[in-house]
Symmetry: C2
Subunit: 298 residues, 2 copies
């Protein structure tokens, strides 16, 4: 009976997991154990700090509901999601539009609207138009691609954050035309802080971070035989464009609403953006992010 | 606007946390980010695997109740608690009895019994007696030290796992006499698997681990001016004495119930164990482990 010290405890844990039948589970669990143990040793974590960590993770779990995924938020603000996505994009580099975070506000079953419709039910600021084409990676149009969009209002809130959140707003699904073209009207979204009323918000405040995401519009685009594209367009004139709390901005996704003679709705400022979808790889999942409802279900 | 790759995302996350006012929080969060990101890179974590991880942590959070702390269990089976405790013991080496895991079955408010009482309400196997002395580190008795004990029954269950779990059983608090002596009767506990019906149990099964802890009796011992001692005595003849699923056994805590002419209850097999308490260090907490009720409370 050998007493375990802070190093042999790692060996003992790895030895106990050595018979894991699934080699990938073994690889991931081994790495998790090695990094967790090294983390504890690096900072010389005290029992009281360990307990604070346990309580924090428990609160994060408790904050998860059918419409809120606090663990995804934690992964996002620690930059973990960004690393997962960077690795994913590396495999797919130069294969289609850059992706971005799905975020916790995606909802299934948004209304399918006609091309050109306005997705804001009660716009109180000037409307803008977004338009472009969905193509494959060689620029060939993807007819009738499905374009799902969702965003905050001009006041910085998603419909899920409104009192009457049963009513969907500021989101819609569009079917592209036979040339893969889409266009719709909306209001310019406002940037917003991540949910600050939970344990993750508490952590972000304790780190003196502003907690804001720059203004953006989410897209989830699908076409048969192609990789589902989860992305977002970011407004370049937002104060937080270079300090997104969840590290979701990429240079190639930054846009501006501007006068545009080619706008399909003359008189409105326009954002022109063409999306390129890579070919599907069998059994592969798009990008990190999740339907909170599915995750939160018991 | 620089695009983040899997390495610069780490720099960006550290940069955003650079203004954290509490230096210790900064140190811990920095190390957590570095190790989490390195873990993701080491195993090249895919979006689907990331999502599995999010779902797993969410389920661990949901499994936490007022009487069950699944995050502590996760920390235990991954050996993280053992590392925290090893670091803690290193500071206190040769300063008192070796400590061990508190575990999730501690309850406050156990009945205070007279010295010599039996803590099992319905013993169905031979009783044994535990006895010894609580002293400081120089061997000077600690009069009236408080000895809290709890254990599984001869069938391997804690009272909290019984149908009538409102009634406390197999646990008690004892006041030592004026020489710091204690003795009480009980049944020999049976080893038991960790709770296998939750997400952590599922993981342990997927790792082909037996999930068992060797038979043991928990102790939480306090005396004014001394470090609270959280420990346990392990029965050396248990099949799992060398493969404890939560890495809690230390050689110095292994005991056997044997014939003992000095036993305070003649005719019963006895375990003789003297506990040594180190001097308290101001503001310090004993050891990892927690009152699940406090953690689970919203």
């Amino acid at each position: 009976m050998q007493d375990l010290d802070e190093f042999t405890a790692t060996d003992a844990a790895l030895a106990q997991m050595a018979a894991t039948p699934d080699p990938r589970l073994k690889e991931i669990a081994d790495a998790a154990v090695r990094h967790l143990h090294a983390f504890v040793r690096d900072v010389n974590l005290t029992p009281a700090e360990w307990l604070t960590g346990i309580a924090f993770l428990t609160q994060v779990g408790k904050a998860c509901t059918p419409v809120r995924q606090e663990f995804i938020l934690l992964s996002d603000v620690l930059g973990v999601s960004a690393v997962v996505n960077a690795l994913h994009d590396k495999k797919a580099r130069e294969l289609g539009t850059q992706s971005s975070l799905l975020g916790p506000f995606y909802r299934e079953g948004a209304p399918e609207l006609e091309l050109g419709a306005c997705i804001a039910r009660h716009p109180s600021s000037a409307q803008i138009v977004l338009y472009g084409q969905v193509t494959d990676n060689d620029g060939a149009p993807l007819p009738h691609a499905l374009v799902q969009v969702w965003q905050t209002s001009e006041h910085g809130l998603y419909d899920l954050q409104a009192a009457d959140h049963e009513n969907m707003d500021l989101r819609a699904n569009f079917r592209c035309d036979a040339e893969g073209r889409y266009h719709f009207r909306t209001v310019r979204p406002l940037g917003y802080p991540i949910p600050m009323d939970g344990p993750v918000g508490q952590m972000v405040r304790a780190q003196n971070r502003h907690g804001f995401r720059p203004a953006h519009i989410h897209f989830l685009i699908g076409a048969e035989g192609h990789r589902e594209l989860v992305t977002a367009l970011y407004f370049g004139d937002d104060d937080h464009i270079d300090s997104d709390t969840v590290f979701g901005v990429s240079g190639s996704l930054v846009v501006t609403a501007a006068e545009d003679p080619k706008s399909p709705v003359p008189g409105l400022k326009a954002v022109h953006f063409d999306f390129r979808l890579a070919r599907a790889v069998e059994g592969e999942m798009g990008r990190v992010g999740a339907d909170p409802a599915r995750l939160a279900a018991e």
